[in-house]
């Protein structure tokens, strides 16, 4: 067993057993890489991230994390995956629609899991949460309810909530897609800050300029396969695969990102 950071092997996933949304996907990731996943809508980008987070049952294949077994499909028992929840705890995910808990304050959202699931004392969790909120310029919103925040603030709180659990890797699924254009920058800015701090990340985004800026590696997916896997400088200026070039032309309305 090789001990790479994240290893996805022969990952297959279908909804209702018909079309394979992920049709035998393979890739590896090293620590501190920032992989941006691009591809047409419906190509399985969200599904890939959701499988890695352990939100979906996989049909076949396995996922290893830090050299340890994490998720494995069981032969003959399609409904039953082996999932190591201790490994899952090292992975954080942020969703398109924030998914904050609306009945809890910002602070309440942050400290729920540290206190109730990890047994941290309220005092210590609150202190860490307030420090983090302060760093993000959100400490004055600690006692606000999510319904009172702007979309950008909500998404930054969602990121903070995941960060407070000290993840080894963060998964971002189109986290700016639901935001008004003028609020995108504050969330992308925060992600760039995390990049500076060498956080390992997998990011699904339609914002190719942001992808170019944050990625150390870009994966282009279509039909449940990885079509191309290359550094951003290469894929955006000189894609090897015609399908990649086609896709980029469509989303950019120009030939390359300059």
């Amino acid at each position: 067993m090789s001990s790479c950071f994240l290893k996805v092997q022969n990952l297959r996933k279908s909804y209702g057993g018909l079309v394979h949304v992920l049709d035998g996907m393979n890739f590896q990731m090293e620590p501190k890489e920032r992989i941006v996943v691009i591809g047409p809508s419906g190509s399985g980008k969200s599904t890939l991230l959701r499988c890695i987070m352990g939100l979906e049952k996989i049909d076949d294949g396995r996922i290893e994390f830090e050299g340890a077994r994490y998720i494995e499909a069981q032969a003959n028992r399609r409904k039953d995956n082996l999932v190591d929840t201790a490994v899952r705890a090292k992975i954080g995910m942020v969703f398109q629609h924030y998914t904050l808990f609306p009945h809890l304050t910002v602070l309440g959202n942050l400290v729920l899991s540290p206190i109730r699931a990890r047994g941290e004392s309220r005092a210590s969790a609150t202190e860490r949460a307030m420090q983090l909120l302060k760093r993000l310029g959100l400490d004055n919103r600690a006692n606000a309810y999510p319904g009172m925040l702007s979309g950008g603030q909500k998404q930054r709180v969602a990121i903070a909530r995941a960060l407070l659990l000290d993840p080894k890797i963060m998964l971002f699924d189109e986290v700016t897609s639901a935001l008004d254009p003028e609020l995108v920058a504050e969330v992308e800015g925060l992600m760039l800050e995390l990049a500076e701090q060498k956080m390992s990340m997998m990011i699904v985004t339609h914002d190719m300029w942001f992808a170019k800026r944050i990625a150390t590696r870009v994966i282009f997916c279509a039909d449940g396969h990885i079509v191309e896997d290359a550094p951003p400088a290469k894929i955006f200026s000189d894609p090897a695969e015609p399908r990649t070039a086609d896709f980029l032309k469509k989303v950019l309305h120009v030939d390359t990102v300059s």
Binding site: R50, M53, G54, L55, T85, R88, A89, I91, G92, M93, F95, H97, T99, L100, F101, P102, H103, L112, S113, R116, A117, R118, Y145, P146, G147, M148, R161, A162, L165
Partner: protein
């Protein structure tokens, strides 16, 4: 007929009216105390239960929502003893009917509230590593209850008003007392107006509480 004599006439019968109101509140609150938890349990069975339990729960809910409460009262009072030889007595059969009716209508409210907690909230719980022993009491239940409260309170008002029907099986509730006084004194106008006002005053207060709760609380949280 002037106001002073009307009021003094009503004043003479205040005791009978208040006894009736007491009985109305007694039947209603027992109906609520049994019906609300029943509704909650039935909603959970209907969402995630065994197929046979689910079919039984669904049949129960549809029958009680689809028939008049008066028919249900008569059925438990007259038919149950004749068919099964079980005579509950009029008080027990009345409370049973109200509780079963309340259970049926409030199970629908709970079911809608449970459904409205999206899959995304459950995903967030998993991503944050919350086991069910945390996510159910701290995330799912509070949101379900907050969302169900307005409709459940409206159900309470409905039950309170429908409870006037128990006078038809001889229960001495507010409606029954009003009717008796009206018949024996031949002065229905004052007494039935007063009865209506008492029902209205209580139902209206609860409805205002619902509106206040929705506007101040749910809107603020954007729930």
């Amino acid at each position: 007929m002037n106001l002073a004599t009307s009021l003094s006439f009503l004043y003479d019968y205040r005791l009978a009216l208040f006894t009736g109101l007491g009985n109305t509140l007694y039947f209603t609150s027992l109906g609520l105390a049994i019906g609300l938890p029943l509704g909650f349990i039935v909603s959970i069975i209907r969402q995630s239960g065994h197929p046979i339990l689910k079919a039984i729960a669904t049949t129960y809910v549809e029958i009680f929502r689809g028939t008049p409460v008066l028919v249900q009262l008569f059925w438990f009072f007259f038919c149950l003893p004749a068919l099964l030889g079980v005579d509950l007595g009029n008080v027990t059969s009345t409370i049973t009917t109200l509780a079963l009716y309340m259970g049926a209508i409030s199970s629908e409210s709970c079911r809608a509230a449970l459904k409205s907690i999206g899959a995304e909230q459950r995903d967030a719980c998993i991503a944050l590593g919350l086991p069910a022993r945390v996510s159910v009491p701290y995330v799912i239940l509070p949101q379900t209850i907050m969302r169900a409260v307005p409709t459940l309170l409206s159900n309470c008002v409905t039950l309170f008003k429908e409870s006037a029907l128990v006078s038809a099986v001889g229960m001495a509730d507010l409606m029954y007392q009003g009717q008796m006084i009206a018949d024996s004194t031949a002065r229905p106008i004052e007494i039935l107006t007063a009865t209506a006002l008492i029902y209205f005053f209580i139902a209206f207060s609860v409805t205002r509480i619902v509106t206040y709760y929705e506007q101040s609380f749910l809107k603020r949280l954007k729930l």
